[in-house]
C-alpha cells in the first residue's frame, strides 16, 4: 500500500496558459516559480508547450493548455461540487470579495455556511479553463489544520 506523504502539485488545463497564470496572480496572489518547457532542452525532450508553475500559499500547481477546445461551464459553482478550496483569514475574506468585484469576476457568493460547521463563508468561481475554485474562511482558523506528518 502506498503511504502517501503529502500533496506535491496539481495540474490544471486552461485555454491559454499566460492569461490563465495572470488570473491566478490577479485573483489569488499566486507567485510564479518557473515555466516548464521554456528552454531548448525541454523542447528537445518533447515536453510540449510551455507550462508555468505557480504557488499559492505553498500549494504548487502547473497550468497546461487544453489539448482540445473544451466548453466552459455555465455555473461558477461547478456541476457536481468538485473544486479546489483555498482559505483566507476572516479579516481578509471581505477583501477577496471586493477584489473579485473589482476584477468583474463572475462568482457565486458569499455563501453563508451553518454556524456549527467549520466554514464561515465561501466564494465560488472558475478559472479561465473552467476549473472550479472556492475561497473560504474557517471558523476554526486558530486551530492547526491537518499538520504535515514527516516520514520517520
Amino acid at each position: 500500500m502506498a503511504n502517501i506523504e503529502g500533496l506535491n502539485h496539481t495540474g490544471r488545463s486552461v485555454p491559454d496558459v499566460r492569461t490563465g497564470e495572470q488570473f491566478y496572480v490577479d485573483v489569488l496572489g499566486a507567485h510564479h516559480c518557473n515555466t516548464i518547457s521554456s528552454a531548448t532542452e525541454d523542447v528537445r525532450a518533447g515536453r510540449g508547450a510551455p507550462h508555468p508553475c505557480n504557488t499559492v500559499a505553498g500549494y504548487l500547481f502547473v497550468l497546461f493548455p487544453h489539448q482540445d477546445d473544451i466548453p466552459l461551464p455555465e455555473s461558477p459553482r461547478g456541476e457536481d461540487g468538485s473544486r479546489i478550496g483555498f482559505s483566507v483569514s476572516r479579516q481578509r475574506f471581505d477583501d477577496v470579495v471586493a477584489r473579485a468585484r473589482d476584477l468583474e469576476l463572475p462568482f457565486e457568493g458569499p455563501v453563508q455556511h451553518p454556524e456549527h460547521g467549520p466554514f464561515g463563508e465561501s466564494l465560488y468561481f472558475t478559472d479561465p479553463g473552467g476549473n472550479f475554485m472556492e475561497v473560504c474562511w474557517r471558523r476554526d482558523e486558530e486551530v492547526a489544520y491537518n499538520p504535515l506528518v514527516s516520514k520517520k
Binding site: N34, V43, G48, A49, P50
Partner: protein, 293 residues
C-alpha cells in the same frame, strides 16, 4: 533619463561570403528606386530611407538559418510575385510559408541569399521602410522576455504557442495540413510517451517603433561566440534618441532574472564605442544601439 526608448530599427548587419553575389541577390529584392548601394572595403550597404542593410564579407557567414533566424523585408504588395519569380528564375529556392505574428498568417515567399541568410518578403502598402521585422531563435524564452520587454523596453505585440488553438495548429501541421515555416513547429519524441509530440514553438513578438523583433524558443543547438564577444554578426541596430552615456547608465542599472533570488545577478553585459552600444541576449543574438549625438 526616463525609461529606455528605442525608436525603431536603424539597420541590420549580416555576414556575406561573396559581396558581389549578395548585391545581385538583394538588388532583386530592393530594386533600383528604393535606395542606393555603397561600397567600403569589405562591406557593402544598401541605404533606403532612414534604414540600411549592411553586409560584411566573411568566409564562413554566421546565419543561424537552421533555427529560423531571418529578416523580413517590406516589398510593395504589387511587386511580391514578380520579385519571388525573379529570385526563382535566378536559381534561388523560394518557399511559401506562413508564420505566427498576426501580420504573417498568410503565406509569403521565403528564400536564402547566397550566404544562407533567410529573407522573408513581406507584402507592404508602405514599403518606404525596408525592415519589417527581425526574427531570432533563443534557448530560454523566459529570460528572452525579460531581456526584450523589461530591459530593452519593447512593447509586447502578441505571443504564440501558449494556447489550445496554437497546439491544435501544431497537430494540423504534423498531419501535413498547415504550411507553417519549419522553425515555428516541432515534433520531438516525448520522453514520457516515446511518441512524437507536435508542439508549436513558443514565440514572443516585441515591437520597437514600426518594426518588431520575433523571438522563438528553438529546439536547435545555437552555436555562439565566446561570452566576451559583444560586437558580432548578425545583429540588429536599434535607433535611440538618448545620449550614449544615458543608455550606458541605464543598462548598467538593469537587473533581469527569471528566478527570484537574493543575489545581485542578472546584469546585462554591454560595451560602448563612441555613440554606439553593443550587447547580446543570453542566446547569443547581437544588438547595437545607435544613440543620438
Amino acid at each position: 533619463m526616463g525609461p529606455l526608448q528605442l525608436e525603431g530599427f536603424a539597420s541590420v548587419v549580416l555576414d556575406a561570403a561573396d559581396l558581389r553575389a549578395t548585391r545581385e541577390f538583394y538588388s532583386l529584392l530592393f530594386g533600383s528606386d528604393r535606395g542606393q548601394w555603397r561600397e567600403h572595403g569589405r562591406r557593402v550597404t544598401f541605404v533606403g530611407g532612414d534604414q540600411s542593410v549592411e553586409f560584411v564579407r566573411h568566409p564562413r557567414p554566421r546565419t543561424l538559418a537552421h533555427a529560423g533566424q531571418h529578416v523580413g523585408y517590406r516589398i510593395p504588395r504589387a511587386e511580391i510575385g514578380r520579385v519571388a519569380d525573379s529570385l526563382a528564375a535566378s536559381g534561388f529556392e523560394v518557399n511559401r510559408w506562413h508564420e505566427d505574428h498576426p501580420s504573417e498568417r498568410d503565406t509569403t515567399p521565403y528564400a536564402k541569399d547566397p550566404s544562407g541568410n533567410i529573407v522573408e518578403l513581406v507584402p507592404s502598402d508602405h514599403a518606404g521602410t525596408l525592415i519589417d521585422h527581425y526574427y531570432v531563435p533563443v534557448e530560454d524564452i523566459e529570460h528572452a522576455e525579460l531581456f526584450y520587454l523589461n530591459a530593452l523596453r519593447g512593447q509586447l505585440d502578441t505571443y504564440f504557442g501558449y494556447s489550445t488553438a496554437d497546439v491544435s495548429q501544431a497537430h494540423r501541421w504534423s498531419e501535413g495540413k498547415d504550411s507553417a515555416a519549419p522553425w515555428t513547429r516541432n515534433a520531438y519524441v516525448s520522453f514520457r510517451t516515446h511518441e512524437p509530440n507536435p508542439t508549436p514553438a513558443a514565440q514572443v513578438f516585441t515591437r520597437f517603433g514600426e518594426g518588431y523583433v520575433g523571438v522563438t524558443l528553438t529546439g536547435q543547438r545555437l552555436p555562439e561566440p565566446p561570452e566576451e564577444f559583444l560586437k558580432y554578426t548578425p545583429r540588429l541596430v536599434f535607433r535611440s534618441s538618448h545620449a550614449p552615456h544615458e543608455v550606458a547608465s541605464y543598462l548598467a542599472s538593469v537587473r533581469i532574472s527569471p528566478v527570484s533570488l537574493r543575489y545581485d545577478g542578472g546584469r546585462i553585459r554591454f560595451r560602448r564605442e563612441g555613440r554606439d552600444i553593443f550587447l547580446r541576449d543570453r542566446s547569443g543574438n547581437f544588438f547595437q544601439i545607435a544613440c543620438a549625438g
